[in-house]
Structures are given as structure tokens and as C-alpha cells.
């Protein structure tokens, strides 16, 4: 057909077709071979000029030469088969078709590699032979089918023939197994001929159990009316081999077309109306369509909308060109996918043999995609180049600028035109250019180069990470690409990190402690300078080495054991060790961490020595009779001596860690004293304080404390020493002094009272006497006033004498305060007093009731107790209420506290207590005008009671009576007040 005309155009395409194409000159020599020869036979261009027969297996050469001769002689193609030799020595079976195109000197031999098919055919033949042997009756399948075509029975021969077990088919429709392309014909035969007694169904492909399609020749017998059967009997024979042979024959006839089909993906004819009139079978492989699906349709129906306009334009502009190309367009495949098709159209309208346009299309999707990808990646690269913040520059091998990205231009503040074709040294700072040029020369050697550089441009210093890459094409350097990443900030950050690292290093170095760290294998990972000095090793020599080996210490050494302990337990280990080399005590702290351990050595020589001193001090402190407490800087007890324990009852074990104050202070410790203590403690100076403490037993304990703060060499407060003196004795003295002072005060008060008595009560009668004495000389002895005055003078002198006697009595009571007391039985003394006043009591008709148990006794003076009862009863009689009978009740009882209460009450005239107030018991105070009295009774009673350490209270109501309540210590419980 039109192929001949387009040979040159298509030659290239054919070269890539899988078909072997050999052009043989009249001398039998190869003039041209297609690419497929290279692939299949492994030999190609080098065969040109050699005999065609050399390609062929020696045994087949004669046949091949004969066939070629036939082909040259006759008009149509000649088919033959030959074994060819592949480059690797293998045999390839090639099915050839040779023909002599008209007006050509060359014989065209088209070959197809059918090695696999031949092998398959041989296998098939072998299988067939086998089947024929095993088949019982010469057929491959015997079955009974019902009217619908469903299997009722299947003979056993089907198993070797098609691979099914008979029972697999029972109940299923025979049509289910027939090839979709054949089933319609088969069903038509079934329906048309079903009523006839016997018929043949046109050959159809039947699916074998392994999925292969087998051509089956089938004859059917209608046995529906046979009561024994009532079914169709179907006998089928596998005729696949025959069908293949027929098909091959057909193909050979159609070879010419086949060449076209193999050369292009699709070959089509199109009428002047623009619809397909012929579509090559390869369209199915290429696009998935059956040829007939396209016939009558326009190609434009299948073209992608975006490509349609271009395709239509090309079509419209075809004119009378014999051959023209349509722009590549996307064509819709049967599965809906778009395939890029490259199409060449030949105008064969004038060719009477064709009278149509020929369309040769090739699927170029892959190529197209690759091209698109290339375009995309170029675009991407361009974008990167244009928009990247990284400075980028292309130079040719001589260093001239070919391109520069906007970032670089902006850095230089120049336009592209200013830099193109110039050398960077023309516009870079002059001091920077030599470096740039040197680097450029380096990269010219063909190696990529990365480095950091700092450039000062227009006063701003920036740091760049520069990469120079040589551009190589076919092994030749055509230019250099340079990128510069501004890492000024990063460099600054790095610099900062370096600084900080250095600083950290300095910190570690400035740790006053020796310090080292090891990994878990005991390899030294760090050692500061102090550590170097301590261990007498150098970090530079020992880093990464096993510490124990360096130190010559084994697993038995204390260091090793402690480090191992820290690693094993994950806990910090601390211990003290003496360094023989340094003659120093070290506190060693081992801190385990994930990568190993770090060890700090602190010099604690001083502490150890001060501990020793402390111990010596303790020896001294133990010897002293004063309590000694040593506390830490926070006041927590570290040590107490034995005297402390003796004084307070608290042992060292009980005190250790406690603040002494919190243990020793108690309820009566004055808050002011505690506050004073705290204030002075804060002053960090030595001080003394006296404070009330409590022993463990609860007894009071007065301590005079000297607190001495102890400082270390650095001036830091580290301890307090408290030396405490038990001053209970002194406190007792103070207490007795207070008592004496009180007594003196009492005496003083008594003296004041004495003065008062002198001024009023003693002077009153004396003043009267003086007045009367002055009056008398002026009076006539006969005047009655004279006698009266004289009598008054006598009375006044008597009064003065009485007062002097009272004073004597008073002072004598005071003097007797310290006389040793006796046991005084209250009941006895009371009855005595009452008996002595019986006469005046009876005279006024008074009743006295006594309710005083006989066993009650007080510690005191009998005369005082008598005086108390006598004076109280005397007062009751004297100040009785005139209009009623006097009743006096005297009662005594033991109260809860162990003391005795004496109650003395009467129903007499009483007095106004509010008015009398505190003066009730004062000397010479009188509250009654009518009755005579000196106002000394109550004074004496109170003096007597107080001399016996008792108290007296009075309640009274005018015309209601009076009650005295006296509290006295019982003889049994009475004791002198003691200093607690």
C-alpha cells in the first residue's frame, strides 16, 4: 500500500519495531538490518555487507537460500521458517516472510521471533498426542445437557482434555464456558437447531480449567424424546491446533498489513469526510478498542478537548500536501485514559488502490511525559534560580558571568546587564577578589568545592556558605555554578555557641573542686585543671584512656568500688578519703549519669581538722561543770556535754539536730527573753542571756548562757557554742531578796501607819490634854467647868496611854512573825474564846453555834488564833442589831486545795462595805458611831491571819450581818513557800 512511498519516513520507525527486517541485495548480502535484529539476534550493523544466510542455522541455510530465490522470482511473499543463531549461541526460531517489492533491487525479509510459539505448539502437539492415547472414544467431551443447555452429565474424558472434574460442570450452563466472542453464535445455533434430531454448532472457544481457550468442534444429538435420556447428547472435540493453523494461514495472507501493524501502533484509513474506513487490529493493543468500534467515527471525537483545536487546524490546513504531521494530541483510550499520539497523515486520495488518507499513529505518551517532566524540571530549576534567597551565579570556564540570580544581583545592587560577560573580580571588593579567583581555579580541576567565607561589602560584613560546582558535559568542563548561602546569622549563632562552650569550659575549669568524668568503661572523658593537679595526670595525655590503668588502681581500690557502686545503684555516692600525695582530706562525690560518672573532689582538710579540734574542744568541754552545747550555723545541736545532760536530763542523742530552745523552753519562759535571745543571735556576736528553761523532768532550770559564734577562715558563720551556767541557786537568792524587799516594804508601810497613828490617834488625846492644861489656869476652881476640864484631862492622858499600849501590841505581833509555828487545834481554841466571852454574850441573849471538827489544825501561833476568835466574837457582840437576838455561827471545813476555811458570820448591824472599801482592816478605822471602839480589832485580826500566811475577806450588809471568811493552811499541808 502507501508504505513504499513513505519508506524513508518510516524507515526510522521500522528500525524500532520488534519485527526483524533484513534488506538483502541480489548477491545475498545484507544491506540493511532493523533494530530488532540487534535485540533478537544480538547482532546488527556489523552484519551489513555479509551474507544473509550467515544469520541462519547451518542446517537451514539451503532452505533459506531457496526460499529467497523463490521470493525474487514470484510476485507475492514467500514464507519460511528458520533457526537463527543468537549472539549468545542460542537458537531462535524465526518465521520469515520474504518479498521483492516492485522496482526494487533489494529483497525484503521480515522475520518474527516465534521461538516461544513453536515451543508452545510442540508442547501442544505432545499434549494432543497424549490426549488421543488416553481418550476413550476419540472425543474430548461427552455430555448430556437439558433444554436450557445446563450440564446433566459429563463424561470422564473431560478431565484429561480440559482439566475439569465432571462434577464441576453439573448444573452449570455450557454457554458460561464459551468465549464471549463465540457465545452469541453458539446460542444462535442452539436456538435455531434445537428442535432438529442432530446438528452441529459452529466452532467455539471453550474455557479450560487452566483458563486457556480451546477451540471445540461440537455435534449435538436431540434425545429429548428418548424416555431413557430426555436430554441433548453433546460430543465435542478439541480442534485448537487446526484453528491455529487456519489462523496462521490467514495471517500469512495478510502479512503486508501485518508489517504495518508491527511498525506503527495504529494504521488507519480515513475518508475525505474524516471518518475511519479502516482501522488496524493493533488498535486493540494500543488503545483497547476493537477496530469495528472506531469504524465510521471521526478521529476528532477521541481527541482531548485541549488538543482538538490544534488538530483541527492542522487538518484544515492540509491542502494537497502528500504527507503532513498533526501536532501531538491526546487520544482517549477505551479505558478512558489519555494517550499522547504522534500521527503522520499521507494523502493517498489520488492513489486508485487506496483513495483515502493514511493515518499512522504511534503512542508517544512515555516520551511526551518525559519531555514534559524535563520541561517541568527546567522550569523548576529556573524558579529555584530566580527566587532562591541563596546567591547563585553561572560562569563559563573563563570565569565570565553567564547568569546571575536576583538574590545575587540584589546583594550587589546591580542589574543583570551590568554583570553579564564580566568577571566577578570586576564588581566584588578588591580584597576579596583574589580569594574568589583562587577558588575558581580550584574548581576548574573538576571537583566540587564547599567553604565558608566572610565578605565585607558596602560596610556590611556577611558570612556565606559557598558551594562551587563544575558543570561537566561529556567530560568537558563548560562552566562553574556557584551558590552562596548567607549564614551570617547562623555563623553568629555558631560563634555564640562557641563562646558559650568556651564559657562553660571556663566555668568547669573555675570549679574549685577537682572534677573528672568517665564513661561507663572508665575511660576519662573530662578532667579539669584542678583534677589534673590532684591526680598528677594531664588531660591531653589521658583523655579516652581507662582511668584505673592510668592511676594504677585495680578493682580493690576504694575509688573503683565507690564508682562502681554509683553506677550500679544510680545513686550519688559520697565518701571522704585521704590523699597521700596531697596530704589532704578529700570529700569525693560520685554522680552517675547515662554516659558514665562524674566525680567531684572537694578539699575538706580544713573541715576534718576543725572536726579534730572540735573533738579536742569537746574533751575540754566535757570536763567543765557548765553545760556546753555546740550547734551548727542554723542553731541545730551538734554536740552537748555531760554537764548539759546532768543539768537538763537530755542526752546528746535526744538533742542532736534539735534547736536547744525548742527543747528546753517552757510555759513560763518569758517571751521577751526569747525575743532578746533571737535578736542577739542574729547579730552574730558573742552575747549572754539569762533564760528560764525546763528540765526533761519538767522542773524549772535557770540558765545563764554565753553564746559564742564560730567563724571559719572565710568569715562564714559555721557554729555556735553555748556555755550555760545553772543559776538556780542565784535565782533562789534573788527570790529571797524579793521576799525581803517585800517584807521591808511591809515594814515601811507599817511605819507609815505608825506615823499616822502618832499624828492622829496619839496626838489627839495629847492635844486635848495640852488644851485643857492651858484652859485650867484661867478657870476659877469653883467653876464646875474646872472639874469637868480636869476630868477630861485625866481621860485624855488615859487615851494616850491606851494608844501607846496598842502600838506596843502591834509591833510585838510584827516582831513575832518568824517565831517557830505550832500545831493549833481550831476547835479547842475556838471554844476557849467563846467561853471567855460567855458573860457579855449571855447578857445580850446571843446564841453562838460552833461547827468546827476536832481534827482540824493549823500551823501557827495559838495566841493569834485565840485573838482572831475573840476579836471577831467581841465585834459581833458589840455591833449586834439592837432589835433582834444575836446569832453567831462559827464553821470550819477543809477545802479542795487542802487548806482550811474558817467562816464567822453574825446577824448584827453590819456596815456599808462599799463605803468602807479597803479601809475595813485599817488601824483605828471605825465604822460605827454609836458604839465605842478604837478601830483596832479588825486590824489585829488581819495582822494575825497574814502572819500565818492566811487571807481574810469580809462581806457585810447594813442591818444584815457580817461574814468573815478566813483561809488558813492546814497543819498537814502547810509549807513555806519555796522557790520553784
Amino acid at each position: 500500500m502507501g508504505i513504499r512511498a513513505d519508506f524513508r519516513l518510516l524507515a526510522n520507525i521500522l528500525d524500532h519495531a520488534p519485527v526483524l527486517i533484513c534488506a538483502v541485495d541480489p548477491h545475498g548480502q545484507l544491506q540493511r538490518v532493523s533494530g530488532a535484529c540487534r535485540h533478537v539476534l544480538g547482532r546488527g550493523d556489523e552484519r551489513v555487507g555479509q551474507p544473509f544466510a550467515d544469520l541462519v542455522h547451518p542446517d537451514d541455510r539451503a532452505n533459506v537460500l531457496a526460499a529467497c530465490a523463490r521470493a525474487r522470482a514470484q510476485d507475492g511473499p514467500v514464507q519460511f521458517e528458520s533457526r537463527c543463531l543468537s549472539a549468545d549461541g542460542g537458537e531462535v526460531v524465526v518465521e520469515w516472510s520474504a518479498f521483492q517489492p516492485p522496482a526494487e533491487a533489494l529483497l525484503l525479509c521480515l522475520g518474527r521471533d516465534v521461538t516461544a510459539q513453536r515451543q508452545a505448539a510442540r508442547h501442544a502437539r505432545e499434549q494432543e498426542a497424549y490426549n488421543q492415547v488416553v481418550t476413550e472414544h476419540g472425543f474430548d467431551m461427552m455430555a448430556l445437557l437439558n433444554e436450557e443447555g445446563r450440564y446433566l452429565y459429563v463424561g470422564g474424558s473431560i478431565t484429561p482434555a480440559l482439566g475439569y472434574q465432571p462434577e464441576e460442570l453439573i448444573g452449570r450452563s455450557a454457554f458460561d464456558f464459551i468465549h464471549p466472542n463465540d457465545v452469541a453464535a453458539a446460542q444462535a445455533s442452539w436456538v435455531e437447531l434445537g428442535s432438529q434430531p442432530a446438528f452441529t454448532v459452529s466452532d467455539f472457544r471453550f474455557r479450560a480449567a487452566n483458563g486457556d481457550w480451546r477451540w471445540m468442534e461440537t455435534s449435538v444429538n436431540n434425545q429429548l424424546l428418548n424416555p431413557n435420556i430426555r436430554a441433548y447428547t453433546v460430543i465435542s472435540r478439541d480442534v485448537t491446533a487446526q484453528c491455529e493453523a487456519i489462523r496462521r494461514a490467514y495471517e500469512q495472507k495478510e502479512l503486508y498489513r501485518a508489517v504495518a501493524e508491527h511498525s506503527f501502533d495504529i494504521v488507519m484509513l480515513m475518508s475525505t469526510e474524516g471518518v475511519y474506513t479502516y482501522v488496524g487490529g493493533s488498535v486493540q493493543k494500543a488503545l483497547g478498542y476493537q477496530p469495528e468500534q472506531l469504524l465510521g467515527h471521526s478521529p476528532f471525537e477521541f481527541i482531548h478537548p485541549e488538543d482538538l483545536a490544534a488538530a483541527q487546524a492542522a487538518w484544515a490546513e492540509r491542502g494537497t500536501l502528500p504527507v503532513f504531521s498533526v501536532p501531538d494530541c491526546r487520544f482517549r483510550a477505551a479505558n478512558g485514559a489519555w494517550r499522547w499520539m504522534e500521527t503522520t497523515i499521507g494523502n493517498q486520495l489520488l492513489n486508485p488502490a487506496i483513495g483515502a488518507f493514511t493515518l499512522c499513529s504511534r503512542d508517544v505518551t512515555e516520551k511526551k511525559n518525559r519531555a514534559l517532566e524535563l520541561a517541568t524540571s527546567e522550569q523548576r530549576f529556573r524558579l529555584l534560580f530566580e527566587h532562591n534567597q541563596t546567591l547563585a551565579i553561572f560562569q563559563d570556564a573563563e570565569g565570565r558571568v553567564l547568569d546571575m540570580n536576583p538574590a545575587y544581583l540584589s546583594f550587589l545592587k546591580m542589574t543583570k546587564e551590568q554583570v553579564l560577560q564580566r568577571h566577578p573580580s570586576d564588581f566584588l571588593p578588591s580584597d576579596f577578589s583574589p580569594q574568589v579567583e583562587e577558588r575558581f581555579r580550584e574548581v576548574l580541576s573538576g571537583q566540587s568545592l564547599s567553604y565558608q567565607t566572610t565578605v565585607k561589602y558596602e560596610g556590611v560584613e556577611r558570612t556565606f556558605a559557598v558551594t562551587k560546582t563544575p558543570l561537566m558535559v561529556n567530560g568537558q568542563l563548560i562552566g562553574v555554578s556557584t551558590t552562596g548561602n548567607n549564614i551570617t546569622e547562623m555563623a553568629a549563632a555558631q560563634h555564640l555557641v562557641q563562646q558559650q562552650t568556651a564559657r562553660l569550659h571556663r566555668v568547669v575549669e573555675s570549679i574549685t573542686d577537682a572534677f573528672l568524668s568517665m564513661d561507663r568503661d572508665w575511660n576519662l572523658t573530662y578532667l579539669n585543671s584542678k583534677g589534673e593537679r590532684l591526680l598528677r595526670i594531664r588531660q591531653a595525655d589521658t583523655l579516652g584512656k581507662n582511668l584505673w590503668e592510668i592511676l594504677g588502681q585495680g578493682a580493690e581500690s576504694l575509688y573503683y568500688q565507690k564508682c562502681q557502686e554509683a553506677l550500679d545503684t544510680g545513686q550519688t555516692v559520697q565518701y571522704d578519703a585521704f590523699s597521700e600525695q596531697e596530704k589532704r582530706w578529700l570529700e569525693v562525690k560520685v554522680y552517675p549519669f547515662a554516659e558514665g560518672v562524674s566525680i567531684f573532689f572537694s578539699d575538706i582538710t580544713q573541715r576534718v581538722e576543725s572536726d579534730k579540734q572540735l573533738k579536742m574542744l569537746s574533751l575540754v568541754a566535757q570536763g567543765t561543770i557548765n553545760s556546753v552545747v555546740i550547734t551548727d550555723a542554723y542553731g541545730r545541736t551538734e554536740w552537748v556535754n555531760e554537764s548539759f545532760t546532768r543539768d537538763t536530763g537530755y542526752t546528746l542523742a535526744e538533742m542532736r539536730g534539735q534547736k536547744p530552745g525548742s527543747v528546753l523552753q517552757g510555759p513560763e519562759t518569758e517571751p521577751a527573753a526569747i525575743q532578746l535571745f533571737e535578736e542577739r543571735l542574729a547579730s552574730r556576736k558573742q552575747f549572754s542571756v539569762t533564760i528560764l528553761n525546763y528540765k526533761k523532768s519538767g522542773q524549772k532550770l535557770w540558765f545563764m548562757m554565753d553564746i559564742i559564734p564560730i567563724f571559719n577562715d572565710a568569715g562564714e558563720l559555721i557554729q555556735y557554742i553555748a556555755i550555760q551556767q545553772n543559776i538556780n541557786f542565784r535565782k533562789e537568792v534573788e527570790a529571797s531578796q524579793a521576799k525581803m524587799t517585800e517584807e521591808l516594804y511591809q515594814h515601811n508601810r507599817a511605819l507609815q501607819q505608825f506615823t499616822y497613828i502618832i499624828s492622829h490617834n496619839l496626838r489627839a488625846p495629847l492635844a486635848n490634854a495640852l488644851g485643857l492644861a492651858a484652859l485650867l489656869p484661867n478657870l476659877d476652881r469653883q467653876n464646875p467647868v474646872f472639874d469637868t476640864s480636869l476630868a477630861h484631862l485625866r481621860d485624855s492622858m488615859g487615851q494616850a496611854d491606851t494608844v501607846l499600849q496598842d502600838l506596843n501590841l502591834m509591833l510585838s505581833i510584827r516582831d513575832q512573825q518568824h517565831v517557830q509555828p505550832d500545831r493549833v487545834t481550831l476547835a479547842e481554841v475556838c471554844r476557849q474564846a467563846v467561853a471567855d466571852l460567855e458573860a457579855p454574850a449571855q447578857q445580850c441573849g446571843g446564841l453562838v453555834s460552833i461547827n468546827v471538827p476536832n481534827d482540824l489544825a493549823v500551823r501557827g501561833n495559838r495566841a493569834y488564833v485565840y485573838s482572831i476568835f475573840y476579836n471577831l466574837l467581841s465585834n459581833s457582840i458589840k455591833y449586834r442589831a439592837e432589835h433582834r437576838q444575836l446569832r453567831v455561827e462559827i464553821a470550819c471545813f477543809r477545802n479542795e486545795g487542802g487548806g482550811l476555811s474558817l467562816s464567822f458570820s453574825d446577824n448584827g448591824s453590819g456596815f456599808d462595805l462599799a463605803k468602807a472599801g479597803s479601809e475595813v482592816f485599817q488601824l483605828y478605822k471605825r465604822f460605827h458611831v454609836k458604839q465605842k471602839g478604837r478601830g483596832i480589832g479588825l486590824y489585829l485580826i488581819k495582822a494575825h491571819v497574814e502572819t500565818m500566811d492566811g487571807t481574810i475577806e469580809v462581806t457585810s450588809e447594813v442591818d444584815g450581818g457580817t461574814r468573815f471568811l478566813i483561809q488558813l493552811d492546814s497543819f498537814e499541808s502547810a509549807s513555806y513557800p519555796s522557790i520553784a
Binding site: T755, Y756, S759, H760, N761, R763, A764, P765, L766, A767, N768, L770, G771, L772, A774, L775, N778, V785, T788, S789, H792, D795, S796, Y924, K925, R926, F927, H928, V929, G935
Partner: protein, 134 residues
């Protein structure tokens, strides 16, 4: 010169009256043995009979001289300018003299025994009071 004598000591009362009479006082003299009695009489006769002179003892049972003076404060307006009160006490205590100054009605403190010179001073003061206008 109407005179009141207030003293719990009968000897003192007797002596004071005798000394006043010896000194020539002829006008009436009233004696009170308790301060309460004197106060009651005085407050009920403020409009009819205000004494020119009161001689007051300090040391008395129940109401003493100081208490009497305190009780007299409400009537001070009626007495001032008409009545001289003299404390007549056996006490030699300076504190009593000082305390007397708290009371405007008290003209002076006289220590017992009352002498004729003392009476002349009282009489002189009373006559001045008497002779002064208003």
C-alpha cells in the same frame, strides 16, 4: 459670829467651846458629834441660818472631815463669802495641809489644841467678812 463645832471627840468639843468662850465669843455655838448630823442640819438651813465659822475635825468614824467637805461642794455657792471653814485637827501631817488647799471653802488648817490666838484670827477673819459690803 455663829459657830459650828464638828468633832466625834466630846473632849475636843468641850475644849473648843471653852476656849471660844474664854476668848469672848458670846454668839451661839452648835456642836455636832458626827459629820452626817452637821451636814444634814447645814443643808436644811442654808437659807435661814448660815454659820460664820465651822471648826471641822478630820478623823471621824463613818463620814470623816474630807468626806464632809466633798458633800458640801454642791452648796458652795450659798456658803462662799458667808462662811469660814477651819479644819481643826490633831494631825501634824503636812499632807493634810496640802489637801486642804483643794477646797476653796477651807480658810485654814488649825492644829489642836485651839488656842486663844487662833480664836482671835478666826474672829478677825469673820468680822472682815461681816463688815465687807454684800
Amino acid at each position: 459670829m455663829l459657830t459650828y463645832l464638828i468633832d466625834d471627840d466630846p473632849v475636843s468639843l468641850f475644849l473648843a467651846e471653852q476656849v471660844l468662850r474664854q476668848a469672848g465669843v458670846a454668839s451661839p455655838i452648835r456642836q455636832f458629834a458626827t459629820a452626817e448630823a452637821a451636814l444634814q442640819f447645814l443643808s436644811s438651813h442654808l437659807t435661814t441660818e448660815v454659820p460664820h465659822v465651822i471648826l471641822l475635825d478630820l478623823n471621824m468614824p463613818a463620814m470623816n472631815g474630807w468626806e464632809f467637805l466633798e458633800a458640801l461642794r454642791p452648796h458652795a455657792a450659798a456658803l462662799v463669802g458667808h462662811c469660814h471653814i477651819y479644819i481643826l485637827t490633831s494631825s501634824l501631817s503636812l499632807s493634810d495641809t496640802a489637801r486642804a488647799k483643794d477646797f476653796a471653802l477651807v480658810s485654814d488648817v488649825i492644829h489642836k489644841p485651839l488656842s486663844e490666838d487662833g480664836v482671835q484670827g478666826i474672829r478677825h477673819a469673820a468680822e472682815q467678812l461681816h463688815s465687807s459690803p454684800g
